[in-house]
Protein backbone atom coordinates (compact mmCIF):
# COMPACT_ATOMS: atom_id res chain seq x y z
CA UNK A 1 0.00 0.00 0.00
CA UNK A 2 1.16 3.57 -0.68
CA UNK A 3 1.14 5.63 2.44
CA UNK A 4 1.21 9.08 3.93
CA UNK A 5 2.36 9.16 7.56
CA UNK A 6 0.96 11.51 10.20
CA UNK A 7 4.03 12.80 12.11
CA UNK A 8 1.95 15.12 14.29
CA UNK A 9 -1.71 16.03 14.14
CA UNK A 10 -3.18 19.51 14.32
CA UNK A 11 -5.94 20.67 16.66
CA UNK A 12 -8.55 18.59 14.87
CA UNK A 13 -7.81 16.68 11.65
CA UNK A 14 -10.26 14.20 10.16
CA UNK A 15 -10.73 12.35 6.90
CA UNK A 16 -13.91 13.56 5.19
CA UNK A 17 -15.72 12.94 1.93
CA UNK A 18 -19.29 13.96 0.97
CA UNK A 19 -20.65 12.06 3.99
CA UNK A 20 -23.26 9.36 4.64
CA UNK A 21 -26.60 9.24 2.89
CA UNK A 22 -29.53 6.84 3.10
CA UNK A 23 -28.67 5.74 6.66
CA UNK A 24 -30.22 8.62 8.66
CA UNK A 25 -33.18 6.42 9.65
CA UNK A 26 -30.66 4.51 11.80
CA UNK A 27 -29.68 7.74 13.56
CA UNK A 28 -26.46 8.06 11.55
CA UNK A 29 -25.30 11.69 11.08
CA UNK A 30 -24.65 13.04 7.58
CA UNK A 31 -21.03 14.01 8.34
CA UNK A 32 -18.82 14.97 5.39
CA UNK A 33 -16.79 18.09 4.57
CA UNK A 34 -17.93 21.26 6.35
CA UNK A 35 -16.97 23.54 3.43
CA UNK A 36 -17.77 21.75 0.18
CA UNK A 37 -16.85 24.86 -1.85
CA UNK A 38 -13.23 24.56 -0.67
CA UNK A 39 -13.11 20.76 -0.76
CA UNK A 40 -14.58 20.59 -4.28
CA UNK A 41 -11.88 23.01 -5.41
CA UNK A 42 -9.12 20.87 -3.82
CA UNK A 43 -10.36 17.79 -5.66
CA UNK A 44 -10.94 19.65 -8.94
CA UNK A 45 -7.37 20.98 -9.00
CA UNK A 46 -6.10 17.37 -9.01
CA UNK A 47 -8.77 16.09 -11.39
CA UNK A 48 -10.25 13.94 -8.60
CA UNK A 49 -13.91 13.03 -8.31
CA UNK A 50 -15.76 15.39 -5.93
CA UNK A 51 -16.42 12.35 -3.73
CA UNK A 52 -12.69 11.71 -3.14
CA UNK A 53 -11.78 11.74 0.56
CA UNK A 54 -9.46 14.46 1.87
CA UNK A 55 -8.07 15.75 5.17
CA UNK A 56 -10.07 18.48 6.88
CA UNK A 57 -7.93 20.40 9.38
CA UNK A 58 -9.39 22.86 11.86
CA UNK A 59 -7.36 25.80 13.24
CA UNK A 60 -3.92 24.19 12.70
CA UNK A 61 -2.60 21.66 10.23
CA UNK A 62 -0.90 18.28 10.66
CA UNK A 63 2.71 17.40 9.81
CA UNK A 64 2.75 14.72 7.12
CA UNK A 65 5.50 12.55 5.66
CA UNK A 66 5.00 11.09 2.20
CA UNK A 67 6.10 7.52 1.44
CA UNK A 68 5.15 7.86 -2.21
CA UNK A 69 5.41 10.30 -5.11
CA UNK A 70 2.09 12.00 -5.61
CA UNK A 71 0.39 15.35 -6.05
CA UNK A 72 -1.47 17.38 -3.50
CA UNK A 73 -3.58 20.51 -3.32
CA UNK A 74 -4.42 22.66 -0.33
CA UNK A 75 -7.55 24.82 -0.15
CA UNK A 76 -9.77 26.58 2.39
CA UNK A 77 -8.14 28.26 5.38
CA UNK A 78 -4.63 29.71 4.87
CA UNK A 79 -2.26 28.03 7.34
CA UNK A 80 1.14 28.86 5.79
CA UNK A 81 1.83 25.46 4.17
CA UNK A 82 5.45 24.45 3.57
CA UNK A 83 7.06 21.50 1.81
CA UNK A 84 10.40 20.54 3.37
CA UNK A 85 10.36 23.95 5.04
CA UNK A 86 9.82 25.93 1.83
CA UNK A 87 6.59 27.90 1.59
CA UNK A 88 4.03 26.62 -0.92
CA UNK A 89 0.76 28.05 -2.13
CA UNK A 90 -2.87 27.22 -1.49
CA UNK A 91 -5.18 26.50 -4.44
CA UNK A 92 -2.68 24.92 -6.80
CA UNK A 93 -1.39 21.44 -7.65
CA UNK A 94 1.92 20.57 -6.01
CA UNK A 95 4.19 17.65 -6.85
CA UNK A 96 5.36 15.74 -3.80
CA UNK A 97 8.12 13.13 -3.63
CA UNK A 98 8.71 10.23 -1.30
CA UNK A 99 10.23 11.43 2.03
CA UNK A 100 8.93 14.98 1.57
CA UNK A 101 7.47 16.59 4.67
CA UNK A 102 4.41 18.83 4.57
CA UNK A 103 3.97 21.18 7.51
CA UNK A 104 1.92 24.23 8.43
CA UNK A 105 2.38 27.46 10.33
CA UNK A 106 -0.10 29.87 11.81
CA UNK A 107 -3.68 30.35 10.72
CA UNK A 108 -3.93 33.50 8.57
CA UNK A 109 -7.63 33.45 7.61
CA UNK A 110 -10.55 31.03 7.51
CA UNK A 111 -10.80 28.08 9.91
CA UNK A 112 -10.95 24.83 7.93
CA UNK A 113 -8.31 23.67 5.48
CA UNK A 114 -8.47 20.80 3.01
CA UNK A 115 -5.54 18.64 1.87
CA UNK A 116 -6.34 16.56 -1.20
CA UNK A 117 -4.10 13.88 -2.77
CA UNK A 118 -4.22 12.38 -6.23
CA UNK A 119 -7.13 9.89 -6.26
CA UNK A 120 -8.15 10.70 -2.69
CA UNK A 121 -7.37 9.03 0.65
CA UNK A 122 -8.30 5.35 0.84
CA UNK A 123 -8.91 5.03 4.58
CA UNK A 124 -11.62 2.66 5.81
CA UNK A 125 -15.10 3.05 4.38
CA UNK A 126 -18.06 2.49 6.74
CA UNK A 127 -21.70 2.87 5.72
CA UNK A 128 -20.75 4.14 2.25
CA UNK A 129 -18.37 6.87 3.43
CA UNK A 130 -14.84 7.41 4.75
CA UNK A 131 -15.90 10.38 6.91
CA UNK A 132 -14.62 9.85 10.44
CA UNK A 133 -17.19 9.65 13.23
CA UNK A 134 -17.21 8.12 16.73
CA UNK A 135 -18.50 4.52 16.82
CA UNK A 136 -18.76 4.39 13.01
CA UNK A 137 -15.15 4.54 11.85
CA UNK A 138 -12.53 3.02 14.16
CA UNK A 139 -10.97 6.46 14.70
CA UNK A 140 -12.74 9.79 14.96
CA UNK A 141 -9.65 11.93 14.24
CA UNK A 142 -6.12 11.62 12.87
CA UNK A 143 -3.34 10.92 15.34
CA UNK A 144 0.45 10.80 15.30
CA UNK A 145 1.62 7.57 13.70
CA UNK A 146 -1.45 7.02 11.51
CA UNK A 147 -0.57 5.65 8.06
CA UNK A 148 -3.04 6.90 5.45
CA UNK A 149 -3.31 4.74 2.33
CA UNK A 150 -3.57 6.42 -1.09
CA UNK A 151 -3.47 5.36 -4.75
CA UNK A 152 -0.24 4.61 -6.56
CA UNK A 153 1.37 7.61 -8.23
CA UNK A 154 1.57 6.04 -11.70
CA UNK A 155 -1.05 8.45 -12.81
CA UNK A 156 0.78 11.66 -11.84
CA UNK A 157 -1.03 13.87 -14.24
CA UNK A 158 -0.05 16.87 -16.23
CA UNK A 159 -1.86 19.57 -14.35
CA UNK A 160 -1.71 23.32 -14.68
CA UNK A 161 0.31 24.57 -11.77
CA UNK A 162 -0.93 28.14 -11.77
CA UNK A 163 -2.76 29.07 -8.57
CA UNK A 164 -6.50 29.52 -8.93
CA UNK A 165 -7.88 32.88 -7.88
CA UNK A 166 -10.28 32.42 -4.98
CA UNK A 167 -13.19 34.67 -4.27
CA UNK A 168 -12.06 36.21 -0.96
CA UNK A 169 -15.73 36.86 -0.25
CA UNK A 170 -15.96 33.22 0.75
CA UNK A 171 -13.81 33.93 3.83
CA UNK A 172 -14.63 37.54 4.62
CA UNK A 173 -18.29 38.08 3.78
CA UNK A 174 -20.20 37.94 7.09
CA UNK A 175 -23.58 37.39 5.41
CA UNK A 176 -25.40 34.12 6.14
CA UNK A 177 -28.59 33.70 4.08
CA UNK A 178 -31.40 31.72 5.66
CA UNK A 179 -34.87 30.49 4.73
CA UNK A 180 -37.75 30.46 7.21
CA UNK A 181 -37.91 27.27 9.24
CA UNK A 182 -41.02 25.25 10.21
CA UNK A 183 -41.50 26.98 13.59
CA UNK A 184 -40.73 30.55 12.48
CA UNK A 185 -44.44 31.33 12.15
CA UNK A 186 -44.97 30.40 15.79
CA UNK A 187 -42.89 33.37 16.93
CA UNK A 188 -44.81 36.55 17.80
CA UNK A 189 -44.69 39.28 15.12
CA UNK A 190 -42.41 41.28 17.41
CA UNK A 191 -40.01 38.37 17.86
CA UNK A 192 -40.05 37.69 14.12
CA UNK A 193 -39.24 41.31 13.40
CA UNK A 194 -36.26 41.09 15.77
CA UNK A 195 -34.83 38.05 13.96
CA UNK A 196 -34.97 38.95 10.24
CA UNK A 197 -31.56 40.59 10.26
CA UNK A 198 -29.29 39.91 13.23
CA UNK A 199 -25.62 40.25 14.04
CA UNK A 200 -24.10 37.24 15.76
CA UNK A 201 -20.74 36.49 17.39
CA UNK A 202 -19.46 32.93 16.95
CA UNK A 203 -18.92 31.37 20.40
CA UNK A 204 -16.05 29.02 21.25
CA UNK A 205 -18.57 26.18 21.75
CA UNK A 206 -18.73 25.82 17.97
CA UNK A 207 -17.62 22.57 16.32
CA UNK A 208 -18.52 20.05 13.59
CA UNK A 209 -21.84 19.31 15.33
CA UNK A 210 -23.09 22.86 15.76
CA UNK A 211 -22.23 26.55 15.79
CA UNK A 212 -23.33 28.58 18.79
CA UNK A 213 -23.37 32.32 19.37
CA UNK A 214 -22.98 34.74 22.27
CA UNK A 215 -26.24 36.66 21.67
CA UNK A 216 -29.60 35.68 23.21
CA UNK A 217 -33.08 36.13 21.71
CA UNK A 218 -36.07 36.28 24.01
CA UNK A 219 -38.83 33.95 22.88
CA UNK A 220 -41.73 31.95 24.23
CA UNK A 221 -41.65 29.09 21.74
CA UNK A 222 -42.75 25.75 23.17
CA UNK A 223 -40.52 22.74 22.53
CA UNK A 224 -41.68 20.57 19.64
CA UNK A 225 -42.27 16.83 19.50
CA UNK A 226 -38.88 15.50 18.38
CA UNK A 227 -38.74 16.05 14.64
CA UNK A 228 -36.28 16.00 11.75
CA UNK A 229 -33.34 18.34 11.29
CA UNK A 230 -30.57 18.81 8.72
CA UNK A 231 -27.14 20.43 8.68
CA UNK A 232 -27.99 24.11 8.43
CA UNK A 233 -31.09 23.95 10.63
CA UNK A 234 -31.20 26.91 13.06
CA UNK A 235 -32.71 26.03 16.43
CA UNK A 236 -33.86 28.53 19.07
CA UNK A 237 -33.69 27.23 22.64
CA UNK A 238 -35.98 28.34 25.51
CA UNK A 239 -33.03 30.27 27.00
CA UNK A 240 -32.79 32.24 23.75
CA UNK A 241 -29.71 30.60 22.33
CA UNK A 242 -29.35 30.12 18.58
CA UNK A 243 -27.84 26.81 17.50
CA UNK A 244 -26.92 26.21 13.86
CA UNK A 245 -26.58 22.48 13.22
CA UNK A 246 -23.54 21.44 11.20
CA UNK A 247 -22.50 18.26 9.34
CA UNK A 248 -22.03 15.97 12.38
CA UNK A 249 -25.40 16.94 13.94
CA UNK A 250 -27.97 14.46 15.18
CA UNK A 251 -30.70 13.46 12.75
CA UNK A 252 -33.56 14.61 15.01
CA UNK A 253 -34.12 17.41 17.51
CA UNK A 254 -36.72 18.87 19.86
CA UNK A 255 -35.91 22.59 19.74
CA UNK A 256 -38.01 24.84 17.49
CA UNK A 257 -36.47 25.22 14.00
CA UNK A 258 -36.71 28.87 13.06
CA UNK A 259 -34.40 29.04 10.03
CA UNK A 260 -32.59 26.86 7.50
CA UNK A 261 -29.27 27.92 5.95
CA UNK A 262 -28.72 27.74 2.22
CA UNK A 263 -25.90 25.34 1.32
CA UNK A 264 -23.67 28.22 0.17
CA UNK A 265 -24.12 29.87 3.58
CA UNK A 266 -23.31 26.61 5.35
CA UNK A 267 -19.96 26.53 3.50
CA UNK A 268 -19.24 30.14 4.44
CA UNK A 269 -20.17 29.67 8.10
CA UNK A 270 -17.77 26.70 8.32
CA UNK A 271 -14.87 29.11 7.80
CA UNK A 272 -15.91 31.35 10.72
CA UNK A 273 -13.90 31.15 13.92
CA UNK A 274 -14.94 32.05 17.47
CA UNK A 275 -15.16 35.80 17.92
CA UNK A 276 -16.08 36.33 14.24
CA UNK A 277 -19.13 38.46 13.55
CA UNK A 278 -21.71 37.12 11.15
CA UNK A 279 -24.99 38.51 9.95
CA UNK A 280 -27.97 36.22 9.64
CA UNK A 281 -30.43 37.49 7.09
CA UNK A 282 -33.85 36.14 6.15
CA UNK A 283 -35.98 37.37 3.24
CA UNK A 284 -39.32 38.68 4.53
Amino acid sequence: MYMIEVLTSGVFDTIQDKGRFGVQNFGVPYSGVMDSYASNLANSILGNAQEAALIESTFTGPKLKFHINTMISITGAQMQPALNGIAIKNNTAISVNSNDILSFGKLQYGLRMYIAVLGGFLTEEKLFSRSMYTNITSKFRLQRGDMLPIHSSDARRSITFSAIKIDSDHFHNPLIDVLKGPEFDKLSPLQQEALYDIELTVSNESNRMAYQFNERFKNDLAPIITSLVLPGTVQLTPSGQLIILMKDCQTTGGYPRIFQLTSASLNRLSQKIFGDKTRLKCKK
Binding site: F21, V23, N25, F26, G27, N135, I225, S263
Partner: protein, 243 residues
Protein backbone atom coordinates in the same frame (compact mmCIF):
# COMPACT_ATOMS: atom_id res chain seq x y z
CA UNK B 1 -59.38 8.44 5.93
CA UNK B 2 -56.37 10.64 6.12
CA UNK B 3 -54.80 13.24 8.36
CA UNK B 4 -54.62 16.90 7.58
CA UNK B 5 -50.95 17.20 6.63
CA UNK B 6 -48.85 20.31 6.21
CA UNK B 7 -46.13 20.49 3.56
CA UNK B 8 -43.26 22.97 3.81
CA UNK B 9 -40.19 23.77 1.81
CA UNK B 10 -37.47 22.94 4.38
CA UNK B 11 -34.02 23.17 2.80
CA UNK B 12 -33.23 23.87 -0.86
CA UNK B 13 -33.43 20.12 -1.47
CA UNK B 14 -36.14 18.94 0.93
CA UNK B 15 -39.80 19.13 1.85
CA UNK B 16 -41.03 18.55 5.42
CA UNK B 17 -44.38 16.77 5.79
CA UNK B 18 -46.04 17.12 9.18
CA UNK B 19 -48.89 15.28 10.86
CA UNK B 20 -50.82 16.66 13.84
CA UNK B 21 -48.29 17.15 16.61
CA UNK B 22 -48.91 14.05 18.73
CA UNK B 23 -47.20 10.79 19.66
CA UNK B 24 -49.40 7.80 18.90
CA UNK B 25 -49.32 4.59 16.91
CA UNK B 26 -52.00 5.59 14.43
CA UNK B 27 -49.95 8.59 13.34
CA UNK B 28 -46.75 6.50 13.27
CA UNK B 29 -48.42 3.91 10.99
CA UNK B 30 -49.66 6.64 8.68
CA UNK B 31 -46.19 8.27 8.61
CA UNK B 32 -44.51 4.96 7.74
CA UNK B 33 -47.27 4.05 5.28
CA UNK B 34 -46.77 7.31 3.37
CA UNK B 35 -42.99 6.84 3.47
CA UNK B 36 -43.38 3.34 2.02
CA UNK B 37 -45.76 4.67 -0.62
CA UNK B 38 -43.25 7.34 -1.68
CA UNK B 39 -40.38 4.86 -1.73
CA UNK B 40 -42.36 2.77 -4.20
CA UNK B 41 -43.63 5.71 -6.24
CA UNK B 42 -42.04 6.75 -9.49
CA UNK B 43 -40.86 10.14 -8.22
CA UNK B 44 -37.27 9.58 -9.26
CA UNK B 45 -35.83 12.78 -7.83
CA UNK B 46 -36.37 11.64 -4.23
CA UNK B 47 -33.11 10.28 -2.80
CA UNK B 48 -34.14 9.52 0.75
CA UNK B 49 -36.95 9.97 3.26
CA UNK B 50 -36.36 10.35 7.00
CA UNK B 51 -39.08 9.78 9.58
CA UNK B 52 -39.73 10.87 13.18
CA UNK B 53 -42.81 10.71 15.49
CA UNK B 54 -45.15 12.71 13.30
CA UNK B 55 -43.11 13.96 10.37
CA UNK B 56 -41.30 12.96 7.19
CA UNK B 57 -38.41 14.77 5.55
CA UNK B 58 -38.42 14.10 1.80
CA UNK B 59 -34.96 14.81 0.38
CA UNK B 60 -34.42 15.38 -3.36
CA UNK B 61 -31.35 14.78 -5.47
CA UNK B 62 -30.92 18.50 -6.23
CA UNK B 63 -32.49 21.90 -5.59
CA UNK B 64 -36.26 21.73 -5.98
CA UNK B 65 -37.22 23.97 -8.91
CA UNK B 66 -40.93 24.23 -8.36
CA UNK B 67 -41.90 23.51 -4.78
CA UNK B 68 -45.64 23.89 -5.41
CA UNK B 69 -45.63 21.27 -8.17
CA UNK B 70 -43.64 18.94 -6.00
CA UNK B 71 -46.00 19.36 -3.03
CA UNK B 72 -48.91 18.68 -5.39
CA UNK B 73 -47.26 15.40 -6.44
CA UNK B 74 -46.75 14.42 -2.80
CA UNK B 75 -50.41 15.17 -2.04
CA UNK B 76 -51.54 12.93 -4.89
CA UNK B 77 -49.37 10.12 -3.53
CA UNK B 78 -50.83 10.62 -0.03
CA UNK B 79 -54.40 10.46 -1.22
CA UNK B 80 -53.75 7.27 -3.22
CA UNK B 81 -51.93 5.49 -0.42
CA UNK B 82 -54.90 3.22 0.40
CA UNK B 83 -53.73 0.79 -2.25
CA UNK B 84 -50.56 0.29 -0.20
CA UNK B 85 -49.03 -3.08 0.29
CA UNK B 86 -49.42 -4.13 3.89
CA UNK B 87 -46.31 -3.23 5.81
CA UNK B 88 -44.54 -6.04 7.63
CA UNK B 89 -42.84 -5.28 10.92
CA UNK B 90 -40.89 -7.45 13.37
CA UNK B 91 -41.36 -8.18 17.05
CA UNK B 92 -37.89 -8.51 18.60
CA UNK B 93 -37.11 -10.24 21.89
CA UNK B 94 -34.44 -8.25 23.71
CA UNK B 95 -32.75 -9.93 26.70
CA UNK B 96 -32.16 -7.54 29.61
CA UNK B 97 -30.30 -8.14 32.86
CA UNK B 98 -31.76 -5.97 35.64
CA UNK B 99 -28.95 -6.64 38.15
CA UNK B 100 -28.31 -3.68 40.47
CA UNK B 101 -24.80 -3.43 39.07
CA UNK B 102 -26.36 -2.51 35.71
CA UNK B 103 -29.57 -0.89 36.94
CA UNK B 104 -27.90 1.97 38.76
CA UNK B 105 -31.12 4.00 39.06
CA UNK B 106 -33.40 1.12 40.11
CA UNK B 107 -33.22 2.02 43.82
CA UNK B 108 -34.00 5.69 43.28
CA UNK B 109 -37.00 4.86 41.09
CA UNK B 110 -38.12 2.26 43.62
CA UNK B 111 -38.03 4.80 46.46
CA UNK B 112 -39.65 7.61 44.47
CA UNK B 113 -42.39 5.40 43.08
CA UNK B 114 -42.81 3.47 46.27
CA UNK B 115 -42.70 0.11 44.53
CA UNK B 116 -40.29 -2.83 44.73
CA UNK B 117 -37.51 -3.44 42.23
CA UNK B 118 -39.17 -6.68 41.11
CA UNK B 119 -42.34 -4.69 40.39
CA UNK B 120 -40.32 -2.25 38.29
CA UNK B 121 -38.82 -5.15 36.34
CA UNK B 122 -42.27 -6.62 35.81
CA UNK B 123 -43.76 -3.30 34.67
CA UNK B 124 -40.84 -2.77 32.30
CA UNK B 125 -40.76 -6.24 30.73
CA UNK B 126 -44.53 -6.73 30.38
CA UNK B 127 -45.53 -4.34 27.57
CA UNK B 128 -44.84 -4.61 23.88
CA UNK B 129 -42.98 -1.45 22.87
CA UNK B 130 -43.02 0.29 19.51
CA UNK B 131 -39.94 1.74 17.84
CA UNK B 132 -40.99 5.27 16.84
CA UNK B 133 -37.69 6.15 15.24
CA UNK B 134 -33.92 5.78 15.63
CA UNK B 135 -32.13 8.99 16.58
CA UNK B 136 -30.02 10.90 19.12
CA UNK B 137 -27.14 8.43 18.61
CA UNK B 138 -26.58 5.97 15.76
CA UNK B 139 -28.77 2.99 16.71
CA UNK B 140 -30.64 4.62 19.65
CA UNK B 141 -34.22 3.29 19.54
CA UNK B 142 -36.95 5.65 20.75
CA UNK B 143 -39.54 3.31 22.28
CA UNK B 144 -43.17 4.14 23.02
CA UNK B 145 -45.38 2.04 25.27
CA UNK B 146 -43.75 2.56 28.68
CA UNK B 147 -46.15 1.79 31.57
CA UNK B 148 -47.34 5.05 33.22
CA UNK B 149 -46.14 3.71 36.55
CA UNK B 150 -42.56 3.93 35.25
CA UNK B 151 -42.60 7.44 33.77
CA UNK B 152 -39.64 9.15 35.40
CA UNK B 153 -38.05 12.53 34.63
CA UNK B 154 -34.60 12.71 33.04
CA UNK B 155 -31.62 13.52 35.25
CA UNK B 156 -31.13 17.24 35.84
CA UNK B 157 -27.48 16.92 34.83
CA UNK B 158 -26.59 14.14 32.40
CA UNK B 159 -24.01 11.48 33.26
CA UNK B 160 -20.75 11.76 31.36
CA UNK B 161 -20.50 8.06 30.61
CA UNK B 162 -23.35 5.61 30.25
CA UNK B 163 -22.49 1.96 29.60
CA UNK B 164 -23.03 0.41 26.18
CA UNK B 165 -26.32 -1.54 26.18
CA UNK B 166 -27.82 0.47 29.07
CA UNK B 167 -31.61 0.10 29.18
CA UNK B 168 -33.08 3.45 30.09
CA UNK B 169 -36.16 5.51 30.95
CA UNK B 170 -36.45 9.17 29.93
CA UNK B 171 -39.76 10.72 30.91
CA UNK B 172 -42.47 8.70 29.13
CA UNK B 173 -40.03 7.00 26.79
CA UNK B 174 -37.87 3.91 26.95
CA UNK B 175 -34.60 3.42 25.10
CA UNK B 176 -31.31 1.56 24.94
CA UNK B 177 -27.86 3.15 24.62
CA UNK B 178 -26.22 1.41 21.63
CA UNK B 179 -22.73 2.56 22.65
CA UNK B 180 -21.08 4.17 25.65
CA UNK B 181 -22.00 7.86 25.64
CA UNK B 182 -23.04 10.76 27.86
CA UNK B 183 -26.76 10.75 28.65
CA UNK B 184 -29.50 11.94 30.99
CA UNK B 185 -31.88 8.98 31.06
CA UNK B 186 -32.40 6.70 34.09
CA UNK B 187 -30.63 3.36 33.81
CA UNK B 188 -32.47 0.23 34.97
CA UNK B 189 -30.63 -2.64 33.25
CA UNK B 190 -28.37 -3.73 30.40
CA UNK B 191 -28.82 -5.70 27.21
CA UNK B 192 -25.95 -7.79 25.79
CA UNK B 193 -27.10 -7.25 22.17
CA UNK B 194 -25.36 -5.15 19.50
CA UNK B 195 -27.83 -2.37 18.57
CA UNK B 196 -25.58 -0.66 16.04
CA UNK B 197 -23.03 -2.32 13.80
CA UNK B 198 -21.37 0.00 11.26
CA UNK B 199 -19.87 -3.01 9.43
CA UNK B 200 -23.32 -3.93 8.09
CA UNK B 201 -24.95 -1.90 5.32
CA UNK B 202 -28.10 -2.07 7.44
CA UNK B 203 -26.48 -1.22 10.78
CA UNK B 204 -29.54 -1.75 13.07
CA UNK B 205 -31.68 -4.87 13.22
CA UNK B 206 -34.71 -2.86 14.38
CA UNK B 207 -36.41 -0.08 12.42
CA UNK B 208 -39.22 2.42 12.96
CA UNK B 209 -42.53 0.57 13.33
CA UNK B 210 -41.02 -2.63 14.77
CA UNK B 211 -42.00 -3.93 18.19
CA UNK B 212 -39.75 -4.77 21.12
CA UNK B 213 -40.29 -7.06 24.09
CA UNK B 214 -37.81 -7.10 26.95
CA UNK B 215 -36.99 -10.56 28.35
CA UNK B 216 -35.49 -10.50 31.86
CA UNK B 217 -32.39 -12.70 32.13
CA UNK B 218 -30.05 -13.40 35.04
CA UNK B 219 -26.36 -12.62 35.07
CA UNK B 220 -25.28 -16.08 33.83
CA UNK B 221 -27.59 -16.00 30.83
CA UNK B 222 -26.51 -12.40 30.15
CA UNK B 223 -22.83 -13.44 30.09
CA UNK B 224 -23.57 -16.39 27.82
CA UNK B 225 -25.50 -14.20 25.35
CA UNK B 226 -22.75 -11.56 25.45
CA UNK B 227 -20.19 -14.20 24.47
CA UNK B 228 -22.43 -15.56 21.70
CA UNK B 229 -22.98 -12.03 20.36
CA UNK B 230 -19.24 -11.36 20.34
CA UNK B 231 -18.62 -14.63 18.47
CA UNK B 232 -21.39 -13.84 15.99
CA UNK B 233 -23.39 -16.88 17.10
CA UNK B 234 -26.37 -15.18 18.70
CA UNK B 235 -29.61 -15.19 16.77
CA UNK B 236 -32.04 -12.52 17.98
CA UNK B 237 -35.50 -14.05 18.38
CA UNK B 238 -38.16 -12.33 16.29
CA UNK B 239 -41.50 -12.84 14.59
CA UNK B 240 -43.35 -11.02 11.83
CA UNK B 241 -46.10 -8.58 12.74
CA UNK B 242 -48.60 -7.49 10.09
CA UNK B 243 -50.01 -4.00 10.19
Amino acid sequence: MGYNLTYRHFSERSILVEWPSDINENILRDVLGFKNRLEHSNIKDIVQINSAYSSLLVIYVSTIDNVYDEIKRLKVEYSSRDCLDRLVFKLWEIPVCYDKEFGIDLEEISEEKNCSISQIIQLHSQPIYTVYFVGFLPGFLYLGGLDKGLHFPRKVSPRLQIKKGAVAIGGAQAGIYPNASPGGWNIIGNSPLEFFNPNHDIPCFAKAGDNIKFIPVDRDVYNQILMDVQNGRYHIKSQDVYD
